[in-house]
Symmetry: D2
Subunit: 354 residues, 4 copies
């Protein structure tokens, strides 16, 4: 199901960067939920290009138009179809590189997979596709909100500068979508410097799901961490994910890594959270915590070695209105994919509650 994700709460998406419109369908959404359009609009705005002075100056009209599944302001339980019209395409920007494979881009892969490709603005592989994910994620968040679950993410490293001594008090405003911390200025400078050099930088996003209900996740293959990984790793530019202590477990002993348990106010609490809130693929009630690695924007102004689709060597410089860092705008996409997965597990669990 390449364009559909989820088991009973499903998001299906379609659309290319420079086609008529993008859109999709949210299916399996419960009936009777009040659809807070202000909230959805705000979520969409967080992802939109031009939403931060650090990013592209390209403007996209990201107004989703809901076509079905809602009556008198509430969901009806039937599929919620939506479209986002494309209005600001400049297809001519891309004609010069139609037959060149841009390094770090999906151009080559699509030709190998489909033998035929819409080259305008990256076509289906464009980051613009994530607008549909954020729309779906906004609906999922409305559902989670009813159960007291929040999903928030922020940038904790960019251009090699790590956020230090940060406190997790989302949401994180500002151009970087990063938590307040000692290095925030240096992080911003790293992005600005890359921009001025025609370069780009990568970074790391941290995501927390709080107010978690224990018991979400379906071993042995649809574990909570496995399905979150599937969803989040399907975001373009994401190259890695780690839960809790993550790769640091390689240097830890069992006695250090195991999270000790105590009772507090009649509930189980963990003295540490190296597990990232998940044991055996099932939520424990502790916060879900994970981090994802986001690569530098592949479109850079510097000359790069590449090849053409007729197997000739060439060079390329990718000019245009590109973000020097994908990281800040990817924050809302990571949240959206995580919210969709958790909401799906929540519904599945309800099917089995007695």
């Amino acid at each position: 199901m390449p364009s559909t994700i989820g088991r009973i709460l499903k998001l299906t998406t379609f659309g290319e960067s420079h086609g008529a419109a993008l859109g999709g369908v949210v299916d399996g959404f419960p009936a009777g939920i009040t659809i807070d359009m202000d909230f959805i609009t705000k979520e969409m705005a967080r992802r939109r290009p031009g939403s931060t002075k650090l990013g592209t100056t390209r403007k996209e009209g990201d107004e989703p138009r809901i076509l079905s599944g809602i009556y008198k302001g509430r969901s009806t339980g039937t599929p919620i179809g939506f479209i986002i019209e494309n209005t600001s395409q400049r297809s001519s920007d891309y004609s010069s590189i139609e037959h060149l494979y841009r390094p770090g881009h999906a151009d080559l892969g699509y030709d190998m997979r489909y033998g035929f490709r819409d080259p305008r603005g990256g076509g289906r592989s464009s980051g613009r596709e994530t607008a549909c994910r954020v729309f779906g994620g906004a609906l999922a968040k409305l559902l989670l909100r009813e159960s007291g679950i929040s999903v928030d993410a922020g940038v904790v490293e960019v251009g090699g500068i790590k956020a230090e001594d940060y406190v997790w008090t989302p949401p994180f405003p500002g151009p970087l979508n990063a938590p307040q911390n000692r290095n925030l200025e240096r992080m911003i400078e790293a992005v600005e410097k890359a921009k001025s050099e025609g370069e780009s930088v990568g970074g790391i996003i941290e995501c927390h799901a709080t107010g978690m209900i224990p018991g979400l996740g379906d071993p042995v293959f649809d574990k909570l961490d496995a399905t979150i990984s599937h969803a989040v790793m399907s975001i373009g530019a994401v190259k890695g994910i780690e839960f809790g202590a993550g790769f640091a477990v390689a240097g830890m002993k069992g006695s250090e890594n195991n999270d000790a348990m105590r009772i507090s106010d009649g509930r189980i609490v963990f003295l540490t959270n190296n597990a990232g809130g998940i044991l055996g693929g099932i939520s424990t009630g502790a916060d879900i915590i994970f981090r994802v690695a986001v690569k530098p924007t592949p479109s850079i102004a510097k000359e790069q070695l590449t090849v053409t689709d007729s197997m000739e060597e060439s060079t390329i410089e990718v000019h245009g209105r590109h973000d020097p860092a994908i990281v800040p705008r990817a924050v809302s996409v990571v949240e959206a994919m995580t919210a969709l997965v958790i909401a799906d597990h929540l519904l599945i669990k309800r099917a089995y509650d007695r």
Copy 2:
């Protein structure tokens, strides 16, 4: 589909550590493939407890019995059912901890999810479940072998000691399943030390798929890296995955991270492989390379703080025949899950080749 993974090549598994048997079904496997039982037996042996002097002395009879789908030594295209009888259970080992949640274990999660649990040896969450994955993976490898694709993994870090200057010449024999390298002795010592102290250590496994066919992967949700992540992150004890440059992208510039392309012998080659062989979620033909973080065995002899299933505080020491490091035995499981995913994508791609 909690116990089924794959889209058209599917593995379904069942079985608890101390039940009558484990087993499963491989469905959608092509007809006419010669089933090399020697190969399957060898793959199973690589995962088996007691296969390395570093691990548990527990012996498990991991002989899979194939019940269907094969006629005169070849696959018939119908589902391949198999079971692995449980013969070496010592259920009494576990009676003392039936009502205690072992730190780092799935006990708590299962109670939260199902409200009822088979406590013997971890039940469904036992690492023994992975025997079924290795069986399915062995079949997938037979399929990939026909297309010239190999999947191999090895330990590149354990107990905080990194393999240095290693050459990738799999398979990697020896107790650690690690490539030959400057620190191999120190890596082995780290595990032995943990064992002698009643402790455990974590590590990192690297996996390569070579001989790759370009064009495998199905954007936007069933990208090759997303589906491998789902499959690999569903292995117990795995806490992170990163492809190519992975988390190091956070400190790289676009010009460093993008893999330049040239033509060699009429084929596209990449001068670096920071992408790990995948662009836009589709294989490029370069080797797939990823690493996974494996946590220390949660069962340790040291006293730990925990709680009971009736919400009382307690302490626990987990004695028994446990591996001081899961990493060496997880190598074949990582390969198996990866082989299953790639074989599934290979079949899907064939459906669309013209």
Copy 3:
């Protein structure tokens, strides 16, 4: 997956009768197929209200707008999103029956399932939803055409009048979409009579898939007949399906029902086709033949006994522009669902051809 059907070729739909628009996504459609818009338009026209003088005078703007997945007139392999705007709603027609359950309609079921319902024009359960099916079916037919497979249906009984001595030479023009036959005039009269009486009539549609490729179908659960049945029985108003000899097998002996085989021109031919072209759930190469029962339009002008959604007894007369028989317009929908299923099986089989 309530709003998605198919295994690798998938149709997802959304939309209510009186919402902003209907639409959907065709996913898994192969790249490089020329999209014949004239053909798609003609297919849509066959289903459209007002397409026959026997039916409703209600006009619907059924122009599908394709939003993605097509570039320079050919499919790109990415999802094909489409919408059909709703332009001719008269919501006020329905306000008087918002709280009445119309007999034979889905109103009651939706309230039981979702607890909340869009009552305008039947909402999601409106026959208008089938426009999206016909769009998807038209794409599937383009795919089947490349392999020489045709899917055609026609009305063979309506209002109790059976088509007699008909020859199968599709397509079947005229108001009934019925094959030329001895009783054609009587069939038309039966519908006209029902219309004049404020009544409605049911009927039977026969469907043939010709030029079949042997070997389509996936036992034991995704047999060709089982998946066609799923798809066709999901059409509103369809109450039964039978393949080949169908229910008549109850009176046949094995020696009568078994289709004898001979060789002709080097190919296997069947002397009869009681199997309807399917044995063991797999196509044999003979024509697929099945019939479906379509109930009378539930909306009738006569007074009927019913209840309200607050559990009070009442009566109802459903006035409006309703078809006196659903059968003629359901012909293209039956074809569409069948074409989608066969195309899906065709792609799956290709995945396994060597």
Copy 4:
């Protein structure tokens, strides 16, 4: 998913008639359900060859062995694996027909689909496969029983003799599994006559689900009738299905076919049940009623025209211990598939209940 059926309650099966064993996995079964082994054994016995004096004298050891998912007599929520060993194969019976396509059998289809086939006893296409379905159905019935839902079927026509004036008081004992009725003796004689002539006869099974919960079914594709049709039409030998008035709707008027509603004891009741308990694909609370057509056993002793797998014309007589009518033994299989589908919908609905 050829060998898996269901959305969250899933049955996966494997096994050939003359392989080592058949078996399968029931996944998504709720935890904490008491597993009534006596009931399961009785259900298995109803399907078993030799269970009726009218059928084959072949004995099969149909004892299912449960391997997982149950602890202390209750389900744990993890997959329930089971096998049924094959003990009574006489492979030599079939050697003479290895290269002949038996008319009415799946032999040809399997060769076309897979290019390779286990010919012994029909291999995967053997009716013996349905033992796994009955096992899965027995578990589903245990689940439905908790909600007060029963699923029962009986033979209402065989060899052209219709049950007349029968009362629906299941279960129906006796050799035919038919309800007591005026023609019962004649029905039995029809089967006995066919048997004595080396012939076989077809028939019709009626199935009722009573105690139904309203609101089960998921439009627009996973409607209750569509998914029951999928499941039931996947049973070998079933050639048609009709709900409620079924094919008779072709001769009915809207005013006759619509089921009028009244209130009785505060609940909605229908004065007729032409809908078969389903409107718009959703259960109304009325009994689900449908009928299925079952073809005559294709294995008959009479000489028939056929071809070989090397494209030569031939004749065949199929001797062996075959049932003269499949209908009586198919009764429990129809119930099983229906119970699985309804239980799956029941769980899905719970996910959305608030």
